[in-house]
């Protein structure tokens, strides 16, 4: 059994919100996704990925900002991991 992984970054913590970033890793070896290989996301929202058969297996937690760093920006906050197995 081989795993394909899709990572979607969404506009908010809601799974039906808009995709702003994406990455994929293909355990079948059929494709070789890499950095900067496309300008169009595979799905418009996280729920669109569910409808296409991707299983959600991890979502980022909502963590309050550290005191004194409320205005800092860093990594994307709303990261969702999906998989397909074959």
């Amino acid at each position: 059994m081989k795993q394909q992984v899709l990572v979607l970054y969404l506009s908010s913590s809601a799974l039906d919100d808009r995709v702003v970033g994406w990455a994929s890793y293909d355990g079948t070896g059929r494709t070789k996704p890499t950095t900067g290989d496309g300008d169009h996301p595979p799905y418009e929202t996280g729920v669109d990925a569910l409808r296409d058969g991707w299983r959600l297996f991890q979502a980022s937690q909502l963590i309050p900002p550290y005191p004194g760093h409320e205005y800092d920006t860093s990594f994307l906050k709303h990261e969702f991991f999906f998989e397909k197995l074959e």
């Binding site: 970054y9 506009s11 900067g36 996301p41 800092d72």
Partner: protein, 270 residues
């Protein structure tokens, strides 16, 4: 260095503050591109860290001619001021059909400075077409506090720039911008020459400020990018307000009351 007639406007400085880069398309003439290509193919020796620009690049060298081009010199003067030092330089090559891309990264290490910044010049001496692995840039990522390639998981972000450009194009980047060399799927080597500059003077009102009150300045600073999350995008604007206050020395500057509101504590001094 010729400077005074080609300083950036306030609108262009605001664009740099918002986007983290400026691009000067085909600003380098063909004869200098030819000389540069020959030098890059031979190999360009490094320079000691922090060396004065005029020592690093002797008169007549292609690098000196590059930074003395009026448009380049004026932009550098506006961003890093008079007499910047050269942090380092490098020739970057993306090999033909090399099969992989660099992970998305910021150069050096996490850099928390909010009242100073380095500028990286990227120079492309030949045309970069879509399949040649042109640099990937993420507009508006330069104020994010991340360390080097910890962003490597992000393969694609909406609104990213996958650079294609004519020969002789120069980019000027804030040190913090997320970027990477893309996979070169062509049969040709892709060259880029990079110089990192360190300022030696306070980076305050170094550009042509005649248009400082132009509404287009605020419009540039208010730009959001398609990859921003809704909430964090607001913090990006807040952080740009702080940067613009630093660059202008005007601690009353604001956009839609974002900074004024959250610092309003009547009767409190600490």
């Amino acid at each position: 260095m010729e400077t005074t007639r080609h300083l950036l406007s306030s609108v262009l400085m605001a664009r740099f503050a918002a986007q983290g880069f400026l691009r000067l398309d085909a600003v380098v003439p063909d004869d200098l591109n030819t000389v540069a290509m020959e030098a890059m193919e031979r190999g360009i020796p490094g320079v000691p860290y922090g060396i004065p620009l005029d020592v690093a690049f002797p008169e007549g060298s292609f690098a000196r001619r590059l930074v003395d081009l009026p448009a380049v010199a004026g932009a550098l003067r506006s961003l890093v001021g008079p007499d910047p030092t050269v942090d380092h330089l490098a020739v970057h090559v993306r090999e033909p059909n090399e099969g992989s891309a660099q992970p998305l990264h910021g150069d050096a290490i996490i850099d928390t400075r909010r009242d100073a910044f380095d500028v990286q010049l990227m120079y492309y001496p030949h045309e970069v077409t879509a399949d040649m692995g042109g640099t990937l840039l993420v507009p508006g990522s330069h104020l994010r506090l991340t360390n080097e390639s910890d962003t490597g998981r992000y393969q694609n972000l909406r609104g990213q720039v996958r650079l294609t450009c004519p020969a002789g194009t120069v980019l000027l980047l804030h040190h913090g911008i997320w970027h990477g060399g893309r996979r070169n799927d062509s049969a040709r080597r892709r060259y880029m020459f990079k110089i990192r500059f360190n300022p030696t003077a306070p980076q305050v009102r170094l550009w042509d400020t005649a248009d400082l009150g132009d509404p287009a300045v605020t419009a540039e600073l208010s730009t959001t990018f398609p990859w921003y999350e809704y909430a964090t995008g607001r913090l990006e604007v807040y952080n740009r307000i702080a940067l613009w206050r630093t660059l202008t020395g005007d601690d009353t500057f604001d956009i839609e009351h974002w900074a004024t509101r959250v610092h309003n504590r009547p009767g409190r001094t600490a």
